[in-house]
């Protein structure tokens, strides 16, 4: 008796789509301290990419990051007996090529929704647009700046000095503040 196809596929290597042009559209880097979780989640991400119709490449094992700390086991006079600790971060890279930006977003959102414990993800996404991008970006800035205005209010001066003439006024107000109104 045979298992259903969908079930049988789980025991095989993840299927992949062919990339027609090979233009990278997303680099997903995953990091973890445990290889097992990382391998599992890479597999999951590749399968998700296949079923979304995204050509995925990888997982590429990136160099491991090893951090080491040496601490004395006890007080300073016993400085000669120390202990070493280390933390090794494993990394994997999955690249999506020829993906539609929206599909890539769906894929990333799906991975985030089913995020696995002990795994960090970060993605670089590239989008391509037509000529005269500058004009489109200028229009976008207007929309975005409205959204950002209340965020900017949290940063720095509430009002700028607006020119050299106002420096004296600022200093006077500062003097009052520093001296406590005296």
């Amino acid at each position: 008796m045979r298992m259903p196809r969908a079930l049988e596929l789980l025991y095989l290597k993840p299927l992949r789509r062919e990339a027609e042009f090979g233009v990278p559209s997303c680099d997903l880097q995953m990091r973890s301290y445990s290889v097992r979780n990382l391998e599992f989640f890479c597999d999951f991400a590749l399968r998700a990419a296949y079923y979304l119709g995204l050509p995925a490449f990888g997982p590429v094992p990136l160099p491991r990051i090893t951090e080491r700390w040496t601490v004395p086991k006890s007080t300073f006079i016993y400085k000669k007996s120390q202990e070493n600790f280390e933390r090794v971060t494993m990394r994997r890279l999955i690249q999506i090529r020829d993906g539609h930006p929206e599909t890539v977003q769906v894929w990333l959102a799906f991975l985030q929704k089913h995020a696995y414990y002990g795994i960090g993800m970060k993605a670089n996404v590239w989008e391509f647009s037509g000529l005269e991008v500058g004009k489109a970006m200028d229009e976008n800035v207007k929309e975005v700046s409205e959204l950002l205005e209340d965020k900017w209010a949290h940063l720095g001066h509430k009002r700028s000095l607006e020119g050299i003439e106002n420096v004296d006024e600022f200093l006077v107000s500062e003097r009052v503040k520093v001296s406590g109104g005296r």
């Binding site: 301290y33 445990s34 951090e67 080491r68 700390w69 601490v71 004395p72 086991k73 006890s74 202990e83 070493n84 600790f85 280390e86 933390r87 090794v88 971060t89 002990g118 720095g156 001066h157 000095l161 050299i164 420096v167 004296d168 600022f170 200093l171 500062e174 003097r175 503040k177 520093v178 001296s179």
Partner: protein, 114 residues
């Protein structure tokens, strides 16, 4: 320096003694005064401004409370409040770090041998 108004709320979950509370106050004070400090520093370094203005700015910067200086801020252990031998990655003193690491409370940290 004890006359300085302490922050109303101690919004940290770490070990609390007077040293950590004071450090917290300093961080708050620095955060509140940073724009002023930067403006004064800018005026002092701006050679296009008249010398008198710059001198006044210098005086005012030195007259600001010492708690508003970034150099007053010191990293302290979150488990014991110790001020020396702090590992920046874990915000812990070296001994507390060792205890926590051996207990397995720090993700990914293991005893190393190579």
């Amino acid at each position: 320096m004890s006359l300085f108004q302490r922050a109303k709320k101690f919004d940290l979950g770490c070990f609390a003694n007077i040293k950590t509370i004071r450090d917290h106050t300093k961080r708050k004070a620095f955060e509140a005064a940073e724009p002023e400090r930067q403006a004064l520093r800018y005026i002092i370094r701006n050679t296009t401004l008249p010398a008198r203005t710059r001198a006044i700015a210098q005086l005012q910067l030195t007259q600001m409370h010492c708690y508003t200086r970034p150099t007053q801020i010191k990293n302290r252990c979150i488990l014991g409040g110790k001020g020396k031998g702090i590992l920046r990655d874990f915000k812990m003193s070296r001994y507390n770090f060792r205890l926590q690491a051996l207990e397995g409370n720090l993700p990914g940290v293991k005893k190393a041998s190579w």
